[in-house]
Amino acid sequence: MRPLEGVRVIDLTVAVAGPVATHLLGDLGADVIRVEPPFARPTAHLDVVPVAPGAPDRPYNRAAGHVDLQRSKRGMTLDVAKPLGRDILLRLVAVSDVVVENMSPRVLPSLGLAYADLRGANDDVVLVSMPAFGSTGPLRDRVSFGPGIDAMSGLAHLTGYSDLGPMNASLYYCDYNAGALAALATIAAIRHRDRTGKGQHVELAMLEGELQLVADALLDYTMNGRVGMRRGNAHPSMSPHGIYPCAGVDRWIAIACEDDRQWAALCDAMRRADLRRDPLFGDVVSRVRNRDELDKLITDWTSKAQGNETWKVLQLAGVPASPVQTIGDLFDDEHVTERRWIQYTEHPEAGTVPHTRAAFTLSETPARIERAAPLFGQDNRSILSDLLRLEDRTIEQAYASGVVRDEPPSR
């Protein structure tokens, strides 16, 4: 069995955070049905991966984000803005446990699909909403993507070099955080429903999820009136703690000493036993104070050798260290391979697609990524007739009126 076996999730999500939440639920074994509008999937501003040999060339099935973020889901198309589409969605709600959405808080109610409407179809359904700012408060209608929230949470202000401006954490930090958090809240809400028979409307405001992650800086201000500043890779209570250059082009190694024992081991590994007795670096307070001199000494040492060689020496010595792995390095990393951290799906039009699983393995009920991201309208027929048991007449009508489509309309 898989952990979320028997749980059916309707996925009405867009962008990044919502799809992360639902693919995590799918990876854990939930039956996730992604409901998309029956219109062209925009690809103009997206990366489209190359077509697999012999497959039909339909770029809208191969956006890089789509083939990763929509894995572990079935997919159907449905125009929920039309009465028949709304009706079909509510019939889907009736046989599901959870609905996940991350649109602006105005959208679902404007479609007649507010939580009360969903409950009309299924009294104990769980609705998980992931608005940027929440459904209340003066910012509720602001338009924002994840990176804007990284700016508003304080994270961007605190990230970067001490002599340069603020910098966002790369890619979609806020979205991935909110996605995992929403998956967690979903399982909690399912447990509550199983125990009490009561569903609920769960709300995860992405900003509030992210403010959990910078609490030390927020509370330092509350308690001490101190406004934190960027400090590169420097650490308040560890030194050395940095990214040091290695031989080769743009190769780096991370080294951090948590205590005096690791510092002594580093000195020995550098064949600089003399540094252990140097009063400049005698304890962590001195090492933090004399960080710049220390970093120069370490740089002299690391820049003479390949990162992997230095790393092996430090690994043997018991010093926390790792080469800064590039994305390509991850595919060649024995540790990554042995832990099957990167898993693959076979996508009929995009070929073999790599995915990172969540950061855990389960020994008895493993989470496996098996189902490739759905093609446009891939599971329309099976959902409409096998799952919902709609009459042929209704299905024909849905197709005839463009409420459901197996192919995007040609322009």
Binding site: G65, V143, T159, P166, A169, L181
Partner: protein, 395 residues
């Protein structure tokens, strides 16, 4: 107040530090009875992490302890002693899950209590050639690939602020623990949830992985221009200066018409710019800077949002807490929690709003505050036993 969603579950937490603390912050906030086992007289390393009010080091006032250990109970117990281990075993009998950062504790717990969900959080996980290697937030983020995407291309990679690898590991640990608990309530046996900090930070690289494998394009760090899902196409997505600070602009090309109207710069929506925005990044920055140079964050964001252009203020932590926009105040996000030593502490509240099973707001425990309750109550030890254990340094 209604029960939380994890009401009735008991979690024994032997972890120290951010990752384990963050994991069980979720489980406690969601209503589980989290019992933190702390070393007698010393306690969780979070108690020493700071920052501290007035910069005075005190085991009860470290802000990371107050934040992460909220709503947990604290029992002191020396797991290194034989009688400590016996009590640990008896506590596990009453529990549903055990969260630890010590593989030896996990193995011990798994051997004596097969019904349990046991979650271990370690730098590189419990299997594979790097298992057992030491690792910090910085080191695991380097190993996970995410660090290579952060920083200026002409400088060394730079770590996002604040132990994010540890935080993400804690979040994934809570997710894995809850998934395993659900499986167990559905009839599956207890099991090991093996969490890796390397994988937690590496989870953030998704997108880059597909582009590398399928498009032969390896993303690297791009400064304040983070590469998105479409690095050749998506721009502006960056931080730019204005009169009183910085703003963040995130406009993929369905917003280009709007931003060109907003800034009255037709150039921003001309076909060659639209076709390859990132290739015109310097030019786009210069055009935006001209507009931003006469506006405060507040003015710029207000004008942008009027046109539905995604622009946001870069706030510093003080501005976040002062909440000039009043949004977080109206939502009641920050909570004032009374603490016997630290006083009233304003801190982040619920990460998620669950009306039927509300997030639990409760202060962090004093060191050993619940030792008597748990050992004499749940385990039925006598006061006399407790005095003996205390004298021996076990509790």
């Amino acid at each position: 107040m209604p029960d939380g969603s994890l009401h009735g579950l008991r979690i024994i937490d032997t972890s120290e530090g951010v990752a384990g603390g963050y994991c069980t912050r979720f489980l406690a906030g969601l209503g589980a009875d989290v019992i933190k086992l702390e070393r007698p007289g010393v306690g969780d390393s979070l108690r020493r992490a700071g920052p501290f009010p007035g910069d005075v080091v005190h085991a009860e006032t470290s802000v990371m302890h107050l934040h992460l250990n909220a709503a947990k109970r604290s029992v002191t117990l020396a797991l290194a002693s034989a009688s400590g281990l016996r009590l640990f075993a008896r506590l596990l009998e009453t529990a549903d899950a055990c969260v630890t950062d010590d593989p030896a504790v996990a193995e011990h717990a798994g051997r004596i209590q097969t019904h349990l969900v046991i979650s271990t959080i370690t730098p590189f996980g419990a299997s594979g050639p790097r298992a057992g290697n030491p690792g910090t937030d910085l080191v695991t983020m380097a190993a996970g690939g995410y660090l290579s995407l952060n920083g200026d291309p002409d400088r060394e990679p730079v770590r996002p602020y604040g132990d994010q690898s540890e935080h993400q590991a804690g979040l994934h640990a809570a997710l894995g623990t809850l998934a395993a608990l659900r499986a167990r309530e559905g009839g599956a046996p207890g099991q090991l949830v093996d969490v890796s900090m390397q994988e937690a930070s590496g989870f953030l690289t998704a997108g880059a992985l597909q582009r590398h494998a399928l498009m032969r394009r390896t993303q690297t760090r791009a400064g304040a221009r983070p590469a998105g899902f479409a690095p050749n196409r998506l721009y502006p997505s960056t931080v730019r200066p204005c009169v009183d600070g910085h703003v963040h602009v995130h406009c993929h090309n369905r917003f280009h018409d709007l931003i060109s109207v907003l800034m009255d710069e037709p150039r921003l929506a001309e076909p060659d710019v639209l076709a390859e925005p990132l290739g015109h990044a310097d030019e786009i920055d210069a055009l935006m800077d001209r507009w931003l140079a006469t506006r405060s964050r507040r003015e710029a964001v207000a004008e942008a949002q009027d046109l539905r252009v995604p622009m946001a203020e870069v706030f510093n932590p003080g501005e976040v807490m002062d909440d000039e926009l009043g949004h977080l105040r109206e939502r009641g996000f920050f909570v004032d929690v009374a603490h016997p030593v630290a006083g009233a502490v304003r801190q982040p509240g619920a990460p998620v709003v669950m009306p039927a099973s509300p997030w639990r707001i409760r202060r962090a425990p004093l060191l050993g505050e619940h030792t008597v309750d748990v050992l004499c109550g749940d385990l039925a030890l006598s006061r006399c036993d407790l005095t003996r254990l205390s004298a021996a340094g076990v509790v």
